[in-house]
């Protein structure tokens, strides 16, 4: 039973399109995250939600809009895709947002912009 699942695993699309990535966790965690991992494997936080409330927006362009319909889901919608958006996007969750809490990651969505 997958703990953090995100779909799709691969996304190939044209510049200027709009796309969404979905994430669900079945761990009963309160906090969920979106990360972007670039080609150099650097993992950077984009957003964090705690109980459906946005708590971190790490200066991400407003073309990126996260939505959390309930605490088990955190989706990411991206408008007007640009070449620089090509990356692997990871969803993660933790029991709470406090320190010492391990993060559980999905397997990533590889986004390629043509």
């Amino acid at each position: 039973d997958t703990a953090v699942s995100q779909t799709p695993k691969y996304l190939v699309t044209q510049m200027g399109n709009d796309k969404s990535i979905k994430c669900e966790q079945n761990l009963g965690h309160d906090t969920m995250y979106w990360y972007k991992q670039d080609s150099k494997k650097f993992l950077k936080i984009m957003f964090s939600y705690n109980n459906k409330e946005l708590i971190i927006n790490e200066t991400v362009p407003n073309r990126f809009s996260p939505k959390s319909p309930d605490k088990a889901h955190l989706n990411l919608h991206i408008n007007s895709l640009e070449l620089g958006d090509s990356a692997v996007y990871f969803c993660a969750s933790s029991l709470s947002g406090g320190s010492n809490q391990p993060q559980h990651f999905g397997d990533g969505t590889r986004l390629s912009i043509l």
Partner: protein, 111 residues
Amino acid sequence: TQLLEQSPQFLSIQEGENLTVYCNSSSVFSSLQWYRQEPGEGPVLLVTVVTGGEVKKLKRLTFQFGDARKDSSLHITAAQTGDTGLYLCASHRSGTYKYIFGTGTRLKVLA
């Protein structure tokens, strides 16, 4: 800015060799975590260290948190091909929900 610098960036060794990966910062952390990421997957937690000077062992992996809680190391004894992957240290930015990850060490263990 709290940054976590890892070294080396890349490491290629033969099976059976020992290695050490370092994670350094100019800031003090309340705790630090190590993750391993394999190709096509998300990072998976290996260990959390909390106390300055703490040493934790996970089979052939030994993790140490520096006395001043600004640095950490991961030592692998008798590396195996299954240890191949990207090793990441991570911690919380003080007083926030924000996780920061280290710059990563890509380890390749050759048979």
